[in-house]
């Protein structure tokens, strides 16, 4: 281990909590650097799913029998955990969804759609994931509204002057990522929300890449909507969160209807329940919510600040070593970075680098990372993306560097 790089928690002990980290890939120990796509799961999360089905499975919010009561309580407890975790005022501001994508679609349909008119504008940025482009693009096409895109500067940060000029046109919505999944850039989101509020523009923040890496406080942030996924923060797949400030959910109509969201149903009229449940038609992902609750407990016990510092150390160490490699070009050089390194190596294709790294047991992401417009902006077909998680180590970075050098030697 490099001198001076000391962890804030016992990484080896923490790694033992993740059963998958002991698998081998092509006969070599797995080095997992694709945390931006999804993180591995600690035993506490896996066990919570098993325990749910072993001891407490029942449908929720309906039964008077004990199991149903228990399952409902566990599901609602998970909602409380999420609210506390992100600093929401109340659990009633938290809707469980399938993930970030569904959360964004829900806001597009239930919040923006009834408000959008021909000639209106909607603002997104040039570094959005396709999930935070398409729902708005589809609405804008439908209503003949204009989708305006904030420019990304050469260092991978946003052109805030451009953003401000677009906000002055009083768009009906600003949808913006907290952290770029491709570049790792942490946007100055507090300042951006303030700019939007000064123009009375509702703001949705895509926090999928932020929540696993830093403490979030939606009340301090003052955004209208904050969305994220469970599986990128050590929780199960298929569960996500939509935070909607205050009474916003009561003003919105559900975009999916069905059981569990009604007060009364007659063939000529239906009355919906208020609050979050109105947006959770059908039997929800109960074990997913419970698993997410377990993931929140896990990251809270390790400590968000400790996680953040640990990942920053890995990031700084890896960047320093990568910098010395001939022909490397970093895509995104913002000072504020959430543990993501995107790069290309001159004369090689990211796909080839990814293939040779895989042969050496290393999982990185290659390609356009669902941000094709951003790839166009930087004029690359894709990048190699290394994204860190709580269980990664300095030694793994050393393995990556050696493997990358070997890949370049083979390819050039």
């Amino acid at each position: 281990m490099e001198a001076g790089v000391k962890s804030l928690f016992d990484v080896q002990k923490l790694r033992a909590e993740f059963p998958i980290l002991s698998v081998t890939v092509h006969g070599k120990p797995l080095v997992y650097f694709d945390n931006g796509a999804t993180t591995q799961k600690p035993r506490a999360v896996i066990n919570s799913l098993v325990e749910y089905y072993t001891a407490c499975n029942a449908n929720i919010h309906r039964g008077v029998h004990s199991l149903s009561q228990e399952a409902s309580a566990a599901y609602e407890q998970a909602r409380e955990s999420v609210a506390e975790f992100i600093g929401a005022s109340s659990a009633q501001e938290i809707v469980f969804t399938r993930g970030t994508t569904e959360s964004i679609n829900l806001v597009a349909h239930s919040f923006l759609s009834p408000r959008l008119r021909e000639g209106d504008t909607v603002v997104i940025t040039g570094m959005e994931h396709h999930s935070n482009i398409l729902p708005w693009q589809v609405l804008c096409e439908k209503f003949r509204a204009q989708l305006n895109v904030v420019q990304v500067l050469d260092d991978g940060t946003l052109d805030l002057k451009h953003l401000n000029s677009l906000l002055e046109q009083r768009p009906k919505m600003l949808a913006i990522t907290h952290v770029s999944n491709t570049l790792g850039t942490i946007n100055p989101i507090e300042a951006i929300v303030r700019m939007a509020k000064a123009c009375d523009v509702p703001v949705l923040v895509d926090g999928a890449q932020a929540v696993p890496h830093m403490q979030i406080n939606v009340r301090a942030l003052d955004c209208d909507f904050y969305v994220f996924s469970g599986h990128k923060m050590y929780g199960p797949t298929g569960i996500g969160v939509l935070y909607a400030k205050g009474d916003l959910l009561n003003e919105m109509t559900p975009y999916q209807t069905g059981g569990g969201i009604i007060k009364t149903v007659a063939f000529d009229h239906t009355e919906y329940v208020n609050g979050a449940l109105k947006f959770e038609a059908g039997t929800p992902n109960i074990e997913g919510a419970i698993g997410l609750g377990a993931a929140i407990k896990f990251v809270t016990e390790v400590g968000m600040e400790a996680i953040s510092q640990h990942e920053m150390k890995l990031h700084t160490y890896a960047r320093t070593l990568l910098k010395s490699i001939d022909g490397i070009r970093f895509i995104g050089e913002a000072n504020d970075n959430a543990g993501v390194i995107s790069f290309v190596v001159e004369g090689t294709h990211p796909f080839d680098i990814g293939t040779i790294l895989d042969q050496q047991g290393i999982a990185v992401r290659t390609g356009h990372h669902c941000t094709q417009p951003l790839m166009e902006r930087f004029n690359v077909p894709g990048t190699v993306r290394v994204s860190f998680g709580v269980y990664n180590t300095i030694e793994e970075v050393d393995v990556l560097i050696a493997a990358l050098k070997k890949a370049i030697k083979m390819l050039k």
């Binding site: 796909f351 080839d352 390819l411």
Partner: protein, 142 residues
């Protein structure tokens, strides 16, 4: 000229020499480097087979009653596997190409590269080679 089956067998034997993954991949990379690049004028949108990550361009034509392929890729490992496919399929009767089982890819341990989820365009390229052979074969018969 070898039959398709004989060339497949030849490749399988060549790959048996490699007991290390890096020798095998170096061989594929070198084949990618030596495969003649497709003329820029032929790299048109109608010849492109888009994978999610790497692209393949495929140019199919008939000469002396046989179907020939030329191809290219922006990724070198993909291009190396493309070179193998050309070596096996190019210059044969359309019928033979359409019926070729192409088991050698599995035998040399590269099956995952031809999985549709691999995102490199290769699975779609093999399909396109067979479709082109079918179409070109039909024009020969008519």
């Amino acid at each position: 000229m070898n039959t398709i089956a004989a060339t497949e067998q030849e490749i399988v034997e060549e790959f048996e020499m490699f007991d290390q993954w890096d020798d095998k991949y170096q061989y594929i990379i070198d084949m990618g480097k030596t495969l003649k690049s497709l003329d820029e004028s032929l790299k048109t949108d109608d010849r492109i087979i888009k994978g999610c990550q790497s692209k393949v361009w495929l140019h199919s034509y008939v000469k002396d009653g046989k179907v020939f392929f030329e191809a290219d890729s922006d990724a070198i490992i993909t291009k190396g596997i493309v070179a193998l496919m050309i070596r096996v399929l190019s210059g044969h009767d359309a019928d033979e190409i359409v019926k070729a089982p192409l088991n050698f890819i599995e035998q040399i341990g590269l099956k995952s590269h031809l999985s549709p989820t691999r995102a490199n365009g290769l699975a779609a390229m093999v399909k396109q080679m067979k479709l082109d052979a079918l179409a070109l074969g039909a024009t020969l018969k008519s």
